[in-house]
């Protein structure tokens, strides 16, 4: 839906321009508060770090407590999807909790990769609660050295 604000009209016609100016000022002010903004991206689980190297793209996710069998990774075009669930199981019966900060639940996250990748050579590894997905770039996206000929 396209919204046409009063402020987009020429100023002479618009009695609300002053109010609009104040509103925009308040918007800017609220953005400036550090508490209102997440320091890093979104809060969609899991948190990702993506690094692009010459021939690969490495996607890392912090997923402590997720078992290999509860994790599903798929690649569709250039969208990588990480899906899974975490169940914090306590074998003992009749426990009384002092603190409970670790949540159980499911998660699903998709990221669009910035480059074309070769879908046949995707490698995923889960170690110490960190998932590392190594994606090789498609052949045409890899840097190629061009030889310079001399006359």
């Amino acid at each position: 839906m396209a919204l046409i604000r009063f402020a987009q009209r020429p100023e002479l016609w618009n009695p609300w321009s002053e109010l609009e100016r104040i509103r925009q000022g308040l918007d800017k002010l609220s953005l400036g508060y550090p508490d209102f903004k997440m320091p890093f991206g979104t809060n969609v689980f899991p948190a990702l770090n993506i690094v692009e190297e010459e021939e690969t793209v490495i996607v890392k996710a912090e997923i402590p407590g997720v078992r290999r069998e509860d994790l599903e990774i798929s690649l569709e075009g250039d969208a990588l999807t990480i899906r899974g669930r975490r169940e914090v199981r306590h074998e003992e019966e009749k426990v009384s909790f002092h603190r409970r900060e670790i949540e159980s639940g499911s998660f699903s996250r998709a990221v669009t990769l910035p480059v074309k990748i070769n879908p046949d050579t995707v490698n995923a590894r889960l170690e110490n609660g960190i998932l590392t997905v190594t994606l090789e770039k498609a052949a045409e996206m890899k840097p190629r050295r061009i030889a310079i000929e001399t006359a």
Binding site: P46, R99, N128
Partner: protein
């Protein structure tokens, strides 16, 4: 019933620790602590820490759990997205119960540290026989 969706909780840095000489960060890991008749169990989230990097100490009723990351800093790649910071973990608790120090067990699995602190056996009521000469 719809399942609970996990969200990312921003890592909080440890406040009380003295500044380190290396530019490393110490974060507060999320924990579950529960008690049974026999022991107190602490479960802590420590992604990126291997079993070798774990240090658990109990000194004067203060339990310190510490985990050092094994991974080095990322290479020379271009960072496209950074949503979490890597670092070490540390957290301290004062344990109220009497703990049998020799039987503390710590295990590490999938980035989750589990420390089992067995309680000392309570003094059993014992009947003292009065001997007659």
């Amino acid at each position: 019933m719809t399942e609970h969706k996990l969200t990312v909780h921003q890592k909080q840095e440890v406040q009380h620790k003295g500044e380190t000489t290396k530019p490393e960060k110490y974060f507060i890991p999320a924990v579950d602590i529960y008690e049974t008749d026999k022991d107190v169990t602490v479960v802590a989230e420590m992604p990126g820490v291997a079993a070798a990097g774990i240090d658990v100490t109990l000194e004067d009723d203060v339990l310190t759990i510490q985990g050092c990351k094994t991974e080095g800093d990322p290479g020379a790649g271009k960072i496209l997205l950074q949503e979490y910071e890597t670092g070490n973990y540390q957290r301290r608790f004062t344990v109220g119960e009497a703990i049998d120090q020799d039987k503390i067990k710590a295990t590490m699995e999938d980035g989750m540290l589990k420390v089992v602190l067995p309680k000392t056996e309570p003094a059993r009521p014992r009947r003292i026989e009065v001997q007659t000469a």
